[in-house]
Amino acid sequence: MNAKARNLLVPSALAIVALFLIFAPLTFHRYGLYISSQWAVMTIAAIGLNLTLGYAGQVSLAQGAFVGIGAYSAAILTTHGWPLIAAIALALVLCFAIGWLLGYPALRVQHHYLAFVTLAFSTLAFLVFRNESWLTGGTEGIDSVPRPSLFGFSLAPHLRYYYFCLFVLALVTLATLGLVRSPWGRAFIALRENPIRAMSLGVDTRRYILMAFAIGSALGGLSGALYAPLVGLVEPPAFALTLSFDLLMMVIVGGAGYFIGPFVGAMIAVLLPDWLRFLDRYYLILYALLVMALLIYSPTGLVGVADRFFIRRRTKAASTARAALSASMESEGA
């Protein structure tokens, strides 16, 4: 493959994926659309966690709680007659602020300790969702969350709501792409690779750690605000610790620190259990086995597998090129 063809490969692959995401759902039924929308919504939350974990290297087991905070914000506001846009704004601001505060422990402790602080936060958030009935409806939750309308155009039909989620996902993707390519993104990676070295090079590590948490959490909130109208029902068990585990699994299984990792990971976590449903009651057993097998085979996730494959091919191509070059030089010299 020459360089020109390779330069075309990535954009054309992206174009095919985009066309598929736009046109394939036209043929989907109700349930297919629901699953596809769920993929888009969960991908947004996973992108946020990938920023915090994959780029900035801060382990968080609280992303599910932020999805919950976003979902409850949307459910409470829209059932009181506010537009969804207001709810999204509230979810973003609220989760950004709480995420910022949750970042403070990260300034003191790292790695597994941080994982446990965020785990504790998740549990506390779940207890608040379940117990503060005056606000959250308690164990019954809040039902019949309405789908929004945009400039008088109703998004209630499943296909339209899917496109709305896809549109928001596209916005988030572009914004995140800009972020990770900016000096901020480089500062995040410096933080992940070696915090002390980053600090000695003049990176304000304090601010970037808090920022990584805040932005990642805000995306969790956004995802939740889209989740509430999608499902229509917001209840505490949906945002228990399991969701945080699932989101973390999505990021790692997809490939932490790779930009497309969360997209792939969310696909695995949302679609794979569904494809395995023909196995009836064995499907979760097989799903868990597949996740373990994948992680044993490639701890850097699915994108890591592809990455290794391409690197190997590139090294191979480079070494054949080198061999050919030295051979031609030798023949010239002879």
Binding site: V59, P105, R108, V109, H111, H112, Y113, A115, F116, V117, L119, A120, F121, T123, L124, L127, R130, N131, N194, I196, R197, L241, F245, L248, M249, I252, V253, A256, R281, Y282, L284, I285, Y287, A288, L289, V291, M292, L295, I296, P299, T300
Partner: protein, 291 residues
């Protein structure tokens, strides 16, 4: 006051169980940086081994031995060889995620292949109360406390008084130096996994009569073990014991005096406060950091 003392004793019994589970958790962390998110399910499972053995009409004591043996083999040996060893060199996080998947696997397997319903489980002690000085203590709790404390004492003696235990400690604290001094580090690490397998089986035997055997039993227990391990000090067995006992008492008192709704919040607040102000736990030492 009598009520308070009864609550504390019941709390100590629960705490001794937490401590058993937390010790194993700490051991795996010390020797091989394994954060085992399936530790709760590890406690849930051996009870089902024992039930399965009893379904084959074996007596209770034989079922207990089979349960402990199977647990040591599967949750100790096989867990290390099949999951931990291949993933160890790739860092803490992928392995932690794999243990999350393992916990789903164990839970769903029990639910699918055994039963989704709770099954009764025979108790070691009669279902009666002992009255001392006006305080009612259940025999169940006394049995739990006695067995758990005996197990912890035996483990402490093994760790501190025998060559094997010293070698295990050396392997945990400084694998390189231990290897140079001729300690078979690999085998010592394997032993800690086997010990964990036996400890969770023991915890399973003690806790299942109280909660009945159900596939969801591990969920709260695993969390309690994390909290106990961290509160006490993530890198010390003594820490796990203190953390477990403290957590059990706090948990029981909170349920009685604070509110049942927010009972679960107290251990979490304890965890956050400890991590923020004493990140190495009550008894822990600082871990070295690399630049």
């Amino acid at each position: 006051m009598a009520n308070f003392i009864a609550l504390v004793i019941a709390g100590l019994a629960t705490g001794a169980l937490y401590a058993l589970v937390a010790i194993g958790f700490t051991l795996l962390w010390q020797t091989s940086q394994t954060i085992n998110f399936a530790q709760g399910e590890f406690v849930m499972l051996p009870a089902f081994f024992m039930l399965a053995a009893m379904n084959l009409h074996l007596p209770f004591w034989a079922a207990i031995l089979i349960g402990i043996a199977l647990s040591t083999a599967i949750l100790g040996f096989a867990f290390k060889k099949l999951l931990v060893d291949p993933m160890l060199q790739h860092g803490v996080l992928p392995l932690a995620i794999a243990t999350m998947a393992l916990s789903t696997f164990l839970k769903e397997s029990v639910k699918t292949f055994y039963s989704a319903e709770a099954s009764p489980f025979p108790s070691l002690a009669p279902d009666m109360d002992l009255h001392i000085l006006g305080v009612a203590v259940s025999w169940q709790n006394i049995a739990v406390l006695a067995v758990a404390l005996a197990a912890m004492l035996a483990l402490q003696l093994l760790m501190n008084r025998t060559l094997l235990g010293r070698q295990m400690q050396a392997a945990a604290q400084n694998p390189l130096a231990a290897r140079i001094l001729g300690v078979p580090v690999e085998r010592m690490i394997l032993y800690t996994f086997l010990i964990n397998g036996a400890l969770v089986a023991l915890a399973s035997l003690l806790i299942t009569p109280i909660y009945l055997a159900k596939f969801t039993n591990g969920e709260t227990l695993g969390l309690a073990a994390f909290v106990a391990a961290i509160v006490g000090g993530f890198n010390q067995i003594r820490g796990a014991i203190v953390g477990g006992l403290l957590l059990g008492v706090v948990d029981n008192l909170a349920a009685a005096y604070v509110s049942t709704q927010y009972r679960g919040a107290i251990p979490m607040l304890l965890l956050i406060v400890i991590i923020l102000f004493r990140p190495n736990g009550l008894l822990g030492r600082a871990e070295e950091r690399t630049v």
